[in-house]
């Protein structure tokens, strides 16, 4: 029987990687969060019923995956096309990837406000440097510098993870 405190520790440890893992299926952070939260609640109930779970992490990933597949059934056809093109990496690689994604999400959280804004306008919203410069009333050079700085920070994060896992 697990205590709430122990469960919270696991929650804080796996929540972001799991949402990133779910995000691959849902492509929508709100739905990903809902799925992951529900997975934790279901797992808690199972633990309370006396179910013996060897690896909580593996169990959670499997539960999230099952919930995602249920979620995607209505859009099965489109999804299959997308997925079948790129070969789906192995389960282990998916887990590693989800952890890397989580680190990147955190790194973006931590970007200075202005830099984050500019970065997202360019990489997420697809604005051109020109459009961003006009929107924010700054020079294009500034936009370039800010994005370069952001990428430098984020790439360092990614590389650090890469080295940590594979060196």
């Amino acid at each position: 029987m697990i205590s709430i405190a122990e469960f919270e520790t696991s929650f804080r440890c796996y929540y972001r990687p799991l949402t990133m893992y779910a995000l691959r299926y849902t492509e929508n952070i709100d739905d990903a969060e809902d799925i992951v939260q529900q997975a934790f609640i279901d797992t808690w109930d199972k633990l309370n019923e006396g179910k013996n779970i060897c690896s909580l992490k593996a169990y959670l990933y499997r539960t999230v995956r099952n919930n995602c597949l249920d979620y995607r059934t209505p859009h099965a056809e489109e999804a299959c096309e997308e997925n079948c093109k790129e070969q789906e990496p192995s389960e282990e690689e998916q887990i590693v990837r989800s952890e890397r994604d989580a680190q990147l999400w955190t790194a973006i959280d931590r970007l200075p406000q202005k830099r984050k804004q500019i970065f997202l306008l360019a990489k997420r919203d697809g604005l051109s440097y020109q459009e961003i410069a006009e929107e924010l009333n700054i020079s294009i050079k500034t936009v370039e510098n800010q994005i370069a700085a952001a990428l430098k920070t984020l790439r360092n994060t990614a590389i650090r993870i890469y080295l940590f896992f594979f060196s």
Binding site: R16, I29, R124, A158
Partner: protein
Amino acid sequence: MKNQHDPLTPEEESLRFVSRFYRENKNNTSEAWKKILPHLRRDRKTSRRMWIYRTVAAAAVFAGILIGMTYYWNRLHTDWVIVTADAKPRELFLPDQSNITLSPGSSLRYDRLCFGKDERRVELSGKAYFAVHHEADHPFRVATPTVTIQVLGTQFQVEAATDSTTAFVASGKVRFSTGKSYCDLTADMRAVGQKDGNIRVTKAASRNELAWKTHRLTYRHTPLRQVVDELEKLYGCSITGIPEEELFLTSDFNEMQLTDIIHIINQTLDTHLSVEP
């Protein structure tokens, strides 16, 4: 220069993916925890393990109650052995091999279930002579309405009346107690315990008190009047022909008939005593 068509490194792929779907103020772990915490109910279903614990606990409690009841029932439940002597003295043996002689009209009882467990306890009404085995761990107790006599390996006599009890110790040591006080008696000591709790002790008392059991009378320069009193009491008769003058008798009588005793006294002291039924 990077070729646009080179496959992306995993790091690059992650970066693009996360950037694409990133939203500010989303994916907050602490807020998510607060959100699910109310849904983590403890008592949803009683797991099988809990059920087992509860069953074992209930069984233990039930067993405890059964054991308690058995002890209590044993306490309350008694198996009295009652022995009464009618016209003649009656001898009996207790489970510990102690020997008791009951005087006519006396009775004794003990609980077969507890005798010898912590103590060896008998209740007496009337008069009885006890020859008790020594058992250090299990004190022998004679209970009368007024007095409790505790004994370790002795020979003694107890006479229990309604308002008082008299004990006479032949050998060994006896603790004689009323509710109020107690006294230790040794050989040839005699004590009377009253209802009011007082004890009166006589040392070097005459062993003739035990004659009904021992069939032995001892006189050492004893006044004739006392001899006659004792004989009358012992044999339940009336003796006549007692002279005026003070006469003293020194003699031992063992296992003798009253007529023979009277005959010897007459011979010894030149008297003319006779027995009237």
